[in-house]
């Protein structure tokens, strides 16, 4: 597979798995308005996944469609970071994961909207508008929970202790990626890391939240080594296409 395909597939899987996770909140959100708002976010992100998967399918030398990529691949063929497959947990955990991904996507899509690959630049520019709004929402929720009650603070701190170690994977480097960055196609992970850290650390340091200092970093998702959660999730997501191949809506 080409480096470009691997790159686009990583971005596509990040959005597909995140969108699927978010949609698990549909109908069981904390209150009606928030339920609808988060479902809107999930739909936006699944829309981004659709565009990216369609592009990946074009780059792949086979007849596979975007649907085949989404519903017929096995766990080890998914290239998403482990962060997005983590369970929703409580609302603070869902929203903290969302905040991490929104900050990442904002800077990623900003950089990619200048990509030399026009199709990627187009997808990024379109997605950027949506991500701006997602971040406005998740940013406010983090502030609200951090400065809210003792309970909301404790829950958010527990989520931060749990999820912090997973963000490093978003900025992993590889020879293949460096080459794409040099060609002006991919976003530079070093720059993204800098932008992400300065924004996230900026927000967290304005609250009493403490960043865990264990040094442990999750890794492996980008090469298909996932946590125990992805397989279970795919069972549900892919069930219909696996049980009734080629069935249509």
């Amino acid at each position: 597979m080409s480096a470009e395909y691997n790159y686009v597939l990583n971005l596509a899987d990040n959005t597909l798995i995140l969108g699927q996770r978010l949609s698990e909140w549909c109908g069981v959100g904390p209150f009606l308005e928030e339920d609808l708002a988060l479902t809107n976010t999930a739909l936006d992100i699944i829309g981004q996944a659709k565009m990216l998967l369609e592009f990946a399918a074009e780059l792949k030398d086979s007849d596979d469609s975007a649907d085949d990529l989404a519903f017929m691949r096995d766990q080890h063929e998914f290239k998403n970071v482990i962060l997005v497959e983590q369970p929703n947990g409580d609302y603070s955990q869902t929203l903290l994961r969302q905040y991490f991904m929104d900050v990442y996507h904002l800077h990623l899509y900003t950089a990619l909207s200048n990509s030399k690959n026009e199709q990627l630049a187009g997808i990024a520019a379109k997605s950027l508008k949506e991500v701006n709004y997602h971040l406005e929402r998740s940013d406010l929720w983090i502030k609200r929970m951090a400065h809210g009650t003792e309970e909301s603070f404790n829950r958010l701190q527990a989520s931060l202790d749990k999820l912090w170690h997973y963000h490093h994977e978003l900025f992993e480097e590889s020879d293949e990626l460096t080459e794409l960055v040099e060609q002006g196609i991919a976003a530079d992970p070093k720059q993204l890391k800098e932008l992400w850290e300065s924004e996230v650390n900026g927000l967290l340091s304005s609250t009493p939240l403490k960043i865990p200092q264990t040094g442990w970093k999750a890794t492996g998702g980008r090469v298909g080594n996932h946590s125990e959660y992805l397989g279970l999730m795919l069972c549900e997501m892919q069930f219909l296409q696996r049980a009734y191949p080629n069935c249509e809506w």
């Binding site: 308005e33 928030e34 609808l36 708002a37 809107n40 406010l140 609200r144």
Partner: protein
């Protein structure tokens, strides 16, 4: 949670219209919830949210005194003039 009333302007030149209400803990959340509940299908291009307690409404018991004296005074209505076809939204 507090209740906020939501007003939308469909396009520039028109006035904001009441479309419903949302629950929210603060004004920013009310604005975002209004956006997510009422504008996903291009219904508007401007949103106002107003804390519901800030609305002063007429008392239903005053209905007769407030509104009924207008019923038999049709000359107050501009209904005897033909409108130009170009004039919309009146």
């Amino acid at each position: 949670m507090k209740l906020y009333e939501v007003f939308l302007r469909a396009k520039s030149g028109l006035s904001h219209k009441h479309v419903g209400s949302v629950h929210a803990t603060d004004a920013q959340m009310a604005m975002q919830n209004a956006r997510d509940l009422y504008t996903r299908r291009e219904e508007g291009e401007s949103i106002w949210v107003v804390d519901s307690t800030q609305i002063i409404s007429s008392n239903p018991n005053d209905k007769a005194a407030y509104f009924e004296p207008a019923v038999d005074k049709i000359y107050r209505h501009p209904s005897f003039y033909p409108f130009d076809k170009e004039v919309k939204n009146i």
